[in-house]
Amino acid sequence: MSVELFVTDKAGLTKFYEAIISKNETYAPVEKFGKYDFKRVSSLDACNPDAPIAQTLSAKPLFFPRSAKIMKYTADHSGTSVKETDEDSLAGKRVILGMKHCDARALQVLDKVYNWDYIDTDYQRRRENTVIISTRCDKAGTHCFCTSLDYDVEHSDAMDVAIVNGTDGKIFIEPRTEKGKNFLKEMNIEQRISNNEFQIADETAPEAIKQHYEAFAASFRLKMDYKEVNAKLSKIFDSPEFENVSANCISCNTCAFVCPTCHCFKISDEKVKDTGVRYKSYDSCNNGYFTLMAGGHNPRPVKYRRWRQRTLHKFVYYKERFGENLCVGCGKCTNSCPVNISIFEVVNQVSETVPV
């Protein structure tokens, strides 16, 4: 396998980013109130591709918008007209800068559910149109545990182009997919090499990247055996421990709204006089009304049952159906939780109550 691998420095990377932004529809973390959200950017100054993981919201809304317009309607005396619409998904090619690996990996997990019984064409179009450029983390965040889950973080192809900070100011640029290779060609990689902004990496580079990964993997405080957790959690649906660990959850839904893999939604209408728009927006299974049925029956009437559903969906049901955990270990839920509940801690706490 011929590995195309390039090396540059801080200045070369800045020029590369500037070229990307000027030539493409680019999305990158933009700071507001101390929190980064992915927004359309027109200059590198306006964004921070190295936004810290703890302060960055997921880029999931670029694929599964927080609110997507799915229909417009007009109804008056002359009749009713309905138009299916999703303006956003008609967008052309896009590039995302500064998406972390866990966030990009979450899309691969989501692909399975979006290609299951119903093919979500809007999601597919957004996925196909997007090139993901991701800076590899140098160090694990406080709540990160991505290396403890069921995929190979080191050789991941979740991002199209990986950017790795080597030692001595060297920065490696590594296309991980065909899409990434083609994108680098489009971005005149040949010319950059002749300009001496980029060099073709020598044979020591793969070793340097490996060392970077090893240092990163060694920085994790949180480690678990996901197979053991999956096996244990699948046995304890009736465990009273769920009531104990969920006691301090305030059902605020923040965890689900920031989660890069949660994909539940609700449908709502915005109506002004004779016209209206139908939205598909995020919802959370922690909401009391989430399972409320017509007629008033609610199969999950109390908090711990809703909480159990969310946890078991992540670590048991999705795994059984699609072969992967619906958690990428990014720690966004823990970072955002107003009462500091850690999914890592509670999952392990519940598992520990199961006899081996």
Binding site: A247, C252, K303
Partner: protein, 286 residues
């Protein structure tokens, strides 16, 4: 500020005397230096309790939950928390005889980066206004500043209506409509919240600036004269919205127009909009 030992002693004593079923305090998360609320039912777990300047979350939020309803509760409150508790008592949401309130003479709590929170710097009620016992005996007469208008609010007050709307729209634009602010608010206990009506065409859950504007404005007006500035909402907000702008703005308008009313300061004191006073001005609508 470390009252860990005192809290543990009090909790053990309450369990031993059979006065409570559950003690609501804080414990360490078990993996970092942050704290997580602890609902202790087992007297043997009392040793998990802690209280330091990282004990941020307003625990009165837990009084409205199913598993604490109609239980005898030991509850740790700081100054701001006790004001929320006062209002919940006045509004008949909790029974006083079910509560054993442990007061903390609060010296201010810190945010994620270890800095004292802004509301703590401006706090005028560091000592609980309602309690059964204080961790340090009687409340110490720590000098609290008098009520002052927050700088941000002074800027908003100086704006004209168009600028003010633009200022709030700028805030609401980043709202992701998760409603975490509402859920984390101790004063929000409606079984069915007006901003959460899934069939409503006005307060629908779509993530648009207009939807956020409607929802957050309505929410803040329901809290006008009831917000105790504990900032649970800001801590809960995943987008870090400065929600205090809404609440402090309301607080200031009410303070100036309703005989210096501040929420939950006196036992039995109803919110500004719950009582009629001949001196109330009638020359404006909020």
């Amino acid at each position: 500020m470390d009252y860990t030992n005192q809290i543990r002693e009090i909790a053990s004593k309450l369990f031993a005397e059979g006065k409570i079923d559950v003690f609501v305090g804080y414990r360490m998360t078990g993996f970092d230096e942050n704290q997580v609320p602890a609902l202790i039912r087992d007297p043997n777990e009392v040793s998990k309790l802690v209280f330091t300047d990282k004990s941020v979350f307003n625990l009165t939020n837990y009084l409205k939950q199913d598993h604490t309803r109609n239980k005898r509760i030991g509850l740790v409150v700081k100054g701001c928390d006790s004001r929320a508790l006062n209002l919940l008592l006045t509004e008949s949401q909790v029974k006083r005889e079910n509560l054993h309130i442990v007061g903390i003479p609060c010296k201010g709590v810190v945010d994620e980066s270890g800095n004292k929170m802004q509301n703590c710097i401006e706090c005028i009620f560091p000592n609980p206004v309602v309690f059964d016992e204080m961790v340090d005996g009687t409340p110490t007469g720590s000098e609290a500043p008098s009520y002052q208008v927050n700088t941000d609010i002074r800027n908003i007050a100086a704006m004209n209506l168009v600028e003010r709307r633009a200022c709030f729209e700028e805030v609401f634009e980043s709202c992701i409509r998760c409603n975490a602010c509402r859920h984390s608010c101790p004063m929000c206990y409606c079984a069915k919240c007006c901003i959460d009506q899934e069939t409503s065409t006005l307060y629908h859950g779509a993530n648009t600036t207009s939807s956020a504007f409607h929802a957050l404005m309505t929410w803040s007006l329901h809290l006008a004269g009831r917000c105790v500035d504990c900032r649970n909402c800001e801590k809960a907000c995943p987008s870090h919205l400065p929600l205090h702008l809404l609440h402090k703005w309301n607080e200031q308008v009410i303070y100036e127009n309703f005989q210096e009313h501040l929420a939950g300061v006196h036992e039995g004191d109803r919110g500004a909009f719950y009582k009629y006073n001949m001196k109330d001005p009638d020359d404006f609508i909020m």
